[in-house]
């Protein structure tokens, strides 16, 4: 599993970004949109018109993936600084090696479009640990980085890191339009995700000033409300106001919305109503021309099990069919409080399953296959048909589903998805070599993390 993540699967393989079918706009989205519009000034709405519909998620060693182009992307990771090894049970504080392993796995999994690197635990301030995680992610992954920040200064450090890495990434002459390849723009390698809070507006403006695409967080507490849709109006309007401020300051700057994980409050977790609210938020954001990502995964389970599966399957389906542009949180457990490599592997499989389902299928002369149906006739079989050989690679293939006979499954020790995922993680990390990062660039990143260079 290497090279371009979104060319590996190919058309119909179910391994690429989700596109295609959509549920009809839900009535709640219309209601929420009206409630949000009532909270915005006419000038804010006018400025939003300059916002681009999306941007390219490039990487230092990965082809660009279009974000906001009607496709659902998968983003691995988040902010937890504890990890669950499936075989160990209880969570433990993450180490820098865990961050590197998580990012390397995300780099190897073709379903993952971008990495939000989980920080290691430690005594340093959270912002420093987040920057260190980004440095580790640049070293362990060639994919686009979603870097989460709370304040403008942090965003400026992130931009410096992206610029440092960009110096080692050359655009092709054709892409740059020059005879000599030019450095990639920093914004091609990184998107800043700014957290809700006092620093949100300034951080978003800083991202625009630094030419970094920016996702403005919608405070997620609405997901725990009795009526999540009604409760979403105010935080959604607040985030849109920030996006409008960005457009006023820098018309055309790449900006979108993100729903971060809800704080893991006991007994107030994302259920079916919360999913419906996410659908409404996604459709409202899209209606205003802003791409929307949301932490639709981040299972509340403690393992990649039946519970995490039902949670994330429902979330992926709702997200895919509602028009959300990216699912965040792949690889998170405990409601977003822990990361898990095995969970990342199973979440990628769910996403892949969802991609193949939501992509639909074409109906044309070739796919209706009337000549083949006539040739096979009654009681025949299609295995030897040329039409079958030509099209069979379009069938979705599993990495983690067990389809062996029952007796063989018993003989093999009743292995289930977590065991298979653990095997996949081990094999992937053993085989996968992340594209090397220039040593001088890595040193520069370290200096920025330590505050010795800006």
């Amino acid at each position: 599993m290497s090279e371009d993540p979104h060319k590996r699967g190919g058309p119909g393989s179910g391994r690429g970004p989700v596109t295609g079918l959509r549920l009809a706009e839900c009535a709640a989205a219309r209601g929420l949109r009206e409630a949000v519009l009532a909270r915005l000034e006419p000038g804010e709405l006018r400025s939003l018109a300059a916002a681009p519909p999306g941007w390219t998620l490039g990487g230092r060693a990965a082809a660009g993936v279009e974000f906001g182009a009607g496709r659902l992307l998968l983003v691995a990771g988040g902010l937890p600084d504890q990890i669950r090894d499936w075989s160990a049970g209880a969570p433990r504080p993450s180490t820098p090696a865990d961050t590197a392993a998580f990012c390397a796995l995300a780099d190897a999994l073709p379903e993952v479009a971008a990495v939000a690197p989980p920080p290691a635990a430690g005594d340093e301030p959270a912002a420093v640990r987040r920057l260190a995680a980004v440095a580790a992610a640049f070293a362990a992954s060639g994919k686009h980085i979603l870097a989460i920040a709370a304040e403008a200064a942090e965003v400026r450090s992130l931009a410096a890191m992206a610029r440092a890495v960009a110096t080692s990434v050359r655009e092709s002459p054709a892409a740059s339009g020059d005879a000599e390849p030019a450095s990639a723009p920093a914004g091609a390698l990184m998107t800043a995700g700014v957290m809700p809070g006092d620093g949100c507006r300034e951080a978003a403006l800083a991202a625009a000033a630094e030419d970094l695409p920016c996702l403005v967080a919608v405070a997620p507490s609405f997901l725990a409300a009795t009526d999540p849709v009604a409760a979403a109006a105010e935080p959604l309007a607040a985030a849109i106001r920030v996006a409008a401020a960005v457009q006023t300051a820098a018309p055309g700057a790449a900006v979108g919305l993100v729903v971060p994980p809800m704080p893991p409050v006991p007994r107030a977790q994302l259920g079916a109503g919360g999913l419906a609210a996410l659908v409404a938020v996604a459709q409202t954001g899209r209606a205003l021309g802003l791409p929307v990502a949301a932490t639709a995964m981040a299972a509340h389970s403690t393992a990649p099990d039946w519970l995490s599966s039902t949670e994330n399957t429902a979330a992926a389906l709702a997200a895919g069919m509602a028009g959300l542009d990216a699912i965040l949180g792949a690889g998170l457990l405990d409601g977003g409080a822990s990361v898990s490599l095995e969970e990342l592997a199973t979440d990628a499989e769910i996403y892949s399953y969802c991609a193949a389902t939501v992509a639909g299928f074409p109906v044309d002369d070739d796919t209706l296959a009337l000549e083949t149906v006539k040739a096979v006739g009654i009681g025949g079989n299609y295995l030897g048909q040329r039409h079958t050989r030509k099209n069979m690679r379009g069938v979705w293939r599993t990495r983690l589903f067990d389809r062996t006979p029952y007796e063989q499954w018993l003989r093999d020790g009743r292995r289930q998805a977590p065991e298979l995922a653990a095997e996949l993680v081990r094999a992937t990390l053993a085989d996968h070599e992340p594209p090397p990062l220039d040593a001088a660039v890595a040193a520069t990143l370290d200096r920025i993390v330590l505050g010795k260079e800006s």
Binding site: G360, F361, L368, Y382
Partner: protein, 488 residues
Amino acid sequence: MSPRTDPIAPRLSWDVLSSADIERVHEASLRVLEETGVRFPSDTALDVLEAGGCRVDRATRVARLPRQVVMACVKAAPREYVLAGRDPDADLRIDQKHCYLSNDASGVFVLDRRTGEKRPSTKADVAESARFVDALPSVSYYWGPVVTSRDVPPATKSLHDAEAVFTSTSKHFQTVTTVGQKQAEYVVEMAAAIAGGSDELRRRPILSFMQCTVDPLSHDAANLEANMVAARHGLPSGFMPMPLACGTGPATLAGTLVVNQAEALSGVVLLQLVNPGAPCFVSAAPSVIDLKSGGYTGGSPEDYLLAAACTQLAHFYGLPIAMGTMATGAKAPDWQAAVDDSFSTFASVMTGADMMNGCGLLDGSKVLSYPHLIMEIEIYGIVQRMAKGIEVSDETLAVEVIQRVGPNGTYLGEKHTREHLRDIWRPTVWDRSTYAQWIQSGKAGALEKATRIADQILESYRPEPLPEDAAAELAAIVARADKELAES
């Protein structure tokens, strides 16, 4: 008293085919029916089809079905009818607006709840499973049996199955193991004995029939005979194609859809020619071959796309549909089962499948597990809530409440919250405890909770009993059939 059934009336919908796609599949299916035809290995069926205007080749037993005959039969089929329960509160209104879940069917093993190991199923298991389904509103009718009686004479297995079901549930029974004319006549006699005679059974059909086709483009003689008996008695019936893309259907999903449609519509034609206006339905459980083993996948994205498309096509014809739903290939109620069951239920519900068959079996519809069935009902509940969508009105927008609570307030004490609290979906087996609580509980997960619930039902639930005289009559019919059919 809790309701006997709990259907889903979806407000959200998912269209996997465009109108143009539907027209193309429809035209292609009619061409296959008219030019290639379908094999009906039953003289009675061929007689009926020939008399109805189909071109019949007696040597090959293939009938070619002209489009005008097909469409006339589709038009003759009723759009709405009732699948009655012995208990009228368990009636199902098949109206293309409600989705009813059944259990899965035709398994041959049970995961023994004492040993945890699988063992062959028995007649006692059939009775126990029917009693179990009777207790659960989410499972609106009994399809099957969920596992078959493997400890009775093979020739009368379906009658023993029916006796066990009829005595253990007052919900509607749709048989899938009754094959052959004689067995079907006996099972109808049993149902009539309960209903109060043939006319009353026709008026309130507590029994319906489903048969599988033989893919591609063929039927089984005994299955045809049984469904023709059902149609003659005015009982609802239908045929379930199960084409496997790459094996018994083309590798492209549109092509497999054509094979599925041709088989399903050929069944409708036969049933309507036997008894015009008899209630009938189409059915489908299409899948794709597992390219690694050549076997049945027991769940894949292609399954759900095909399921969704089949439901759209059925409703295009105005016909009810029974859709293969859940039926995971997983060996245990695990991560894989949850992915399969969630996607499958979502596809069936969001496209409005009238009947969804069904829950309870593992390993590609072979092994019954009661805890698994309870966990699948949880998934059904989640999809049910999602399918309801979100109501937007002055009351639900709650602007006044929001303004009163204001920034940083809480809604917990609000009257509006109290009034709407119960609208919120609540889990049965999902774990929402804190980590510490979860440790304290002995790390009880969904399976442990589901096992407790299942054990409680099995140990304590008692269904409304069948009147003694009816039960005795059933026993007498089965004894008579044992004597006649086992010796023939």
